[in-house]
C-alpha cells in the first residue's frame, strides 16, 4: 500500500511558540524543533512500514516547506519540497495512494487551547467553511484526499487538533503528543516518547486501512472565507466568480473540489497583497 504523508510542524511534541517553527527568521530553537519534526515523520514512516506500507511520499507542508532534514529519512522515500505548490499541503495526493497521514498538524484559526492555531495564513484567514462545515487545514486537506480516493488514517498534533479531526473523521487514529494550554503553551510528551507513540499508531493505522472511509465534500461545493480585514476581502472579491458576502467575507461555488481548493489558495495569495 502506497502512503502519502503531509507533515506540518506546529503539532510536533514540545512546540509552543512561533520562534520554534519559523524558518524565515533564523532562531536557534528552529534547528532543534526541525530535528524533532523530522524524527516524528521518520517514526510515522517506520510504523507504516511495519504495518505493511511500501512506497511513501512525504510532502513538507510547513512554512517555506523545506524543513525536513531529509538525510535522516529512509533512503527510499520521496519528498516534496517548496511552498509554491498549487495544492500546497496536499500536493501530489493524486498519486494512487492507499492512505494518508497528517503529522504535526494544528488547530483551526479561532480554536481555543490549540497551540499556534491558524488556517493557512494567520493574518489573513479568520474562518473557512466548506458546505457550511467549519474547516481546519486538516478538513480542507482531507477533502482533497477524499476527492482522489485516499482515506486519512492517522493524525498527530495537540489534543484539540487530534480530537477535532476525530469528530469529523471518526475512523482516523490520533496521537495527541501534547495538551495545549492556550495558544502558546503546552504540556507535552518527550520527543522520544512521542515518536514511539507515533510509530506504534502508524503501524496500527496501516493495518486497519481497510476500515477507513473517504472524507468528501458533495457538489455543488460552497467555499465561504472570512478574512481578517475588509481590505483583504475587497481584493479577493475582484477574482471573477467570487462573491462578496460581507464586508470581510467572500464566497466561491464550484462543482469540483480541486478547483475550490485552488481558489482557496488564490484567496490567501491575493489577500496578502492588500496592505
Amino acid at each position: 500500500m502506497r502512503l502519502y504523508i503531509s507533515s506540518d510542524m506546529e503539532g510536533v511534541a514540545g512546540v509552543c511558540a512561533w520562534q520554534q517553527v519559523d524558518a524565515r527568521t533564523p532562531h536557534p530553537e528552529y534547528e532543534i524543533y526541525r530535528r524533532y519534526y523530522t524524527q516524528e515523520v521518520a517514526a510515522a514512516i517506520e510504523g507504516a512500514r511495519a504495518g505493511g506500507a511500501a512506497g511513501v511520499l512525504v510532502n513538507d507542508s510547513h512554512g517555506p516547506m523545506r524543513n525536513l532534514l531529509f538525510e535522516e529519512l529512509p533512503a527510499d522515500v520521496r519528498v516534496i519540497f517548496g511552498n509554491r505548490k498549487p495544492f500546497s499541503m496536499v500536493q501530489g495526493a493524486d498519486g494512487g495512494f492507499g492512505g494518508a497521514f497528517f503529522i504535526g498538524y494544528h488547530g483551526a484559526a479561532g480554536d481555543a487551547d490549540a497551540v499556534l492555531c491558524h488556517t493557512y495564513t494567520p493574518s489573513i484567514i479568520y474562518d473557512v467553511r466548506v458546505n457550511g462545515i467549519r474547516c481546519s487545514e486538516a478538513t480542507l486537506n482531507a477533502g482533497l484526499l477524499g476527492f482522489y480516493g485516499v482515506p486519512l488514517l492517522l493524525a498527530t498534533g495537540d489534543r484539540t487538533t487530534v480530537e477535532g479531526i476525530a469528530e469529523q473523521m471518526p475512523w482516523v487514529r490520533g496521537v495527541a503528543v501534547k495538551e495545549s494550554i492556550g495558544n502558546f503553551a503546552a504540556d507535552s510528551m518527550m520527543p522520544a516518547a512521542a515518536q514511539r507513540a507515533i510509530r506504534r499508531e502508524a503501524e496500527v493505522a496501516i493495518a486497519g486501512a481497510a476500515d477507513a472511509k473517504l472524507f468528501c465534500f458533495e457538489p455543488p461545493i460552497t467555499l465561504d472565507v472570512q478574512l481578517v480585514t475588509a481590505a483583504q476581502a475587497h481584493l479577493v472579491a475582484t477574482i471573477p466568480s467570487f462573491e462578496r458576502t460581507g464586508s470581510r467575507s467572500v464566497r466561491f461555488v464550484h462543482d469540483s473540489y480541486p478547483v475550490v481548493f485552488k481558489a482557496f489558495v488564490a484567496t490567501w495569495r491575493l489577500a496578502a497583497m492588500s496592505s
Binding site: N83, H234, L235, P240, A263, V265, R269, L270, M273, S274
Partner: protein, 277 residues
C-alpha cells in the same frame, strides 16, 4: 454631456523616467505631478468649451492619488476618484451613464520601443485579446465599449497615440512627445502640450456624435504572457484560467467585463509571486 477621464502619468509631456512618476520620489515627482494635474485640467477646460458639463476623473497612475485636487475646477460637476486598489482600476466608475471617455497621459504597451512601455504591470510581457496584443488603452477602451461608450481623446507619447487612433479612428490623438527608446523623449513644452490637449479635447467633444464604441468580438479570449514562470504559477490558481505554457495563461468568457476583471486579478496575484517564497 458626461465625460469620463482616465488619467495616467507616464504619457505626460517631458516625462521620461520612472523617478518622475514614482510617488516616493521627493525631487522630480512633485514637478511632474503638477504637470499631470495641469494636463488633466487642460482636458477638462477643452471638454467644457466643447459642451461637457459633468466630468468624472479617475486618477489611474500607481498609488492613484497623484492629482492635486485644488488645481481642478472647483464646481459640483467635477468629481475625482482617488486611491488603490479599485476593483476596476483605471476604469473605475465607468458605466453606461458616461457619454464619452478621454485617456490622458497614456503610454505604450509592454514590448513597444517607447517611453516606460508596460501594460498594467511589469509582470505582463504581453497581453492579447482575441489574438490582438493590447495596450492599457485598448483594454480599457474595450471595457468602455462593452457599455456602449466611445473613447474620443487620447494623449501621451506618439507610439500609444498613433496605435490607439489606428484602432479607434474617430478619436482625437494628441502626441505630446516622441519616444526615443524607453527612457528618453523629444517633447513639447508643458505649456504647448496643455494648449494642444485643450484644443484636442474641444475637438473630441465635436466628434462624440460620430464616435463608435470599441469592442472585440465575443466570445473573448484573453492570453497573458508573464515575465517569469512564477507569475503564471500564481495566475493559474484563479478559477477559469488555463495554463498554456511556462509563462502563458488563457481565460475565455462571453462577457468582456468578466474577462477584464480576470486580467486585473491576474496582475494582482502575479505581484504576490515576486517575493521570495
Amino acid at each position: 454631456m458626461n465625460i469620463y477621464i482616465s488619467c495616467d502619468m507616464e504619457g505626460t509631456a517631458g516625462l521620461c523616467s520612472w523617478k518622475q512618476c514614482d510617488p516616493s520620489d521627493l525631487h522630480e515627482y512633485p514637478i511632474f505631478r503638477s504637470n499631470m494635474t495641469r494636463e488633466v485640467r487642460a482636458a477638462i477646460d477643452g471638454a467644457r468649451e466643447g459642451g461637457a458639463r459633468r466630468i468624472l476623473v479617475n486618477d489611474s497612475h500607481w498609488s492613484m492619488r497623484n492629482l492635486q485636487l485644488d488645481e481642478l475646477p472647483a464646481d459640483d460637476d467635477v468629481r475625482v476618484i482617488s486611491g488603490a486598489p479599485k476593483p476596476w482600476s483605471m476604469t473605475q466608475g465607468l458605466d453606461a451613464a458616461i457619454d464619452a471617455v478621454f485617456f490622458t497621459g497614456y503610454h505604450a504597451k509592454a514590448g513597444d520601443a517607447a517611453t516606460l512601455a508596460h501594460t498594467y504591470s511589469d509582470d505582463v510581457y504581453r497581453v492579447s485579446v482575441n489574438g490582438t496584443p493590447c495596450s492599457e488603452a485598448l483594454l480599457n477602451a474595450a471595457l468602455a465599449g462593452s457599455y456602449g461608450v466611445p473613447v474620443v481623446l487620447i494623449t501621451g507619447d506618439r507610439t500609444i497615440v498613433e496605435e490607439s487612433v489606428a484602432a479607434m479612428p474617430w478619436a482625437v490623438g494628441v502626441a505630446v512627445k516622441d519616444a526615443i527608446g524607453f527612457s528618453a523623449v523629444n517633447s513639447l513644452t508643458p505649456q504647448a502640450a496643455r494648449e494642444a490637449i485643450r484644443a484636442g479635447a474641444r475637438e473630441a467633444m465635436a466628434r462624440i456624435a460620430q464616435a463608435k464604441p470599441f469592442v472585440f468580438d465575443a466570445p473573448f479570449e484573453l492570453t497573458i504572457e508573464t515575465a517569469n514562470v512564477e507569475q503564471a504559477d500564481f495566475i493559474e490558481l484563479i478559477p477559469g484560467f488555463t495554463r498554456t505554457g511556462g509563462r502563458a495563461v488563457r481565460f475565455t468568457s462571453g462577457d468582456y467585463p468578466k474577462l477584464f476583471a480576470a486580467f486585473l486579478a491576474a496582475t494582482r496575484i502575479a505581484a504576490a509571486a515576486n517575493t521570495i517564497g
